[in-house]
């Protein structure tokens, strides 16, 4: 996961550095991405120092072990004053503790996998993108099916539940649209909205219910 993340971040022209425990894997990374990897345990202060953690704006712990992700982030934060620490969470139960211990952003691997699976399933019209920390709200995407009642109608006519807010609409042709009451909805458009766990079903029904 860390490797693919680094690749994506490099594409967006960030300075990226990787700490990898396995020398075999780090050799692969070095061959493909250049000398931006060291072999070592990211839970050790000395290794983090050598990696230049004190200069980092963001520290991301993306191992498969929550205890290692926690310790690496805590050391980055308290020893190297990294302003933003992000941890992958493999066990969803740990999220609350990690937030309480000062990890700035927790990304649950279960949620990621779930949203990928949801994306792959055409029948599943609602995708969970992320939970908003410190609230019970979440960001979801809803794809409008061809047989939905809202197809061809303007957003102002759609009964959006009170606890939901439409953020933007990604049209089927890839253009982005700011949602106002005059926006016309079409089949295959993706509506990205902020809603609550209780409200998501009503929102889904409002946007995807058959005519």
């Amino acid at each position: 996961m860390g490797y693919h993340l680094a690749k994506a971040l490099l594409k967006s022209e960030h300075e990226v550095f990787i700490i990898e425990r396995s020398s075999l894997k780090s050799e692969t990374i070095r061959e493909e991405l250049g000398s931006l990897v060291i072999v070592g345990d990211g839970c050790e202060e000395a290794v983090l120092k050598e990696a230049g953690t004190s200069r980092a704006d963001v520290f991301i712990a993306a191992t498969g072990a929550d205890e290692d992700n926690l310790v690496a982030c805590q050391i980055a934060k308290h020893r190297f004053q990294v302003p933003r620490t992000i941890s992958i969470i493999n066990n969803p139960n740990n999220e609350k503790l990690f937030v309480e211990l000062g990890i700035d952003v927790c990304v649950s691997s279960t949620d990621i996998i779930l949203s990928h699976i949801e994306e792959e399933l055409p029948a599943h019209s609602l995708i969970h993108f992320m939970a908003i920390r410190g609230s019970n709200r979440e960001v979801v995407g809803i794809r409008i099916p061809p047989d939905a009642a809202v197809v061809g109608r303007v957003l102002g006519d759609v009964p959006i539940p009170e606890d939901s807010l439409i953020s933007f609409i990604l049209k089927k042709d890839g253009t982005l649209m700011v949602p106002d009451s005059e926006a016309v909805l079409g089949s295959g458009d993706e509506v990205v909205a902020i809603t609550t766990a209780d409200g998501e079903e009503a929102l889904r029904e409002a946007l995807t219910g058959a005519a």
């Binding site: 250049g34 000398s35 120092k49 990696a51 953690t53």
Partner: protein, 151 residues
Amino acid sequence: MPVEKILVPVHDNGCDDEALRLAGEIARVNKATVHALYVIEVKRDLPLDAEIAQETSKAEKVLHHLEQLGKELKCSVEATLLQARDVGPAVVQEAVERGSELIVMQMPYKKRFGSFTLGDTIPYILKNAPCQVILCRDAMTPDIKNGSTHA
């Protein structure tokens, strides 16, 4: 194969003069030019373009000395100073960019953990340089010849 551009990575390890003399000999025969390259390795806790005054002045001194030596040897020496995270890739990249046909390196007889070592940079260059590479290892110092493991 005719050689027009020779790259000499230098590193203030006591071998620079020898490397330049060797490169100078080859350059004279081939009427080639010599590029002396000093790479300052920048640790990760500094930005790549950080100004490291001490290292820079040391490197400039080394390069200046080599330019003078070039004059004595009657060959033209162009000096370049670079900053990089790792020396090996920086040397290889420089050779590619300049289209060097030959890299000449000289190394001391070094030991690590009690046995002979090439270090990390030289094997990298030998493995990855697109052009010919000449590596000259220094003679053993007397204490190494006498079998000391602490050399």
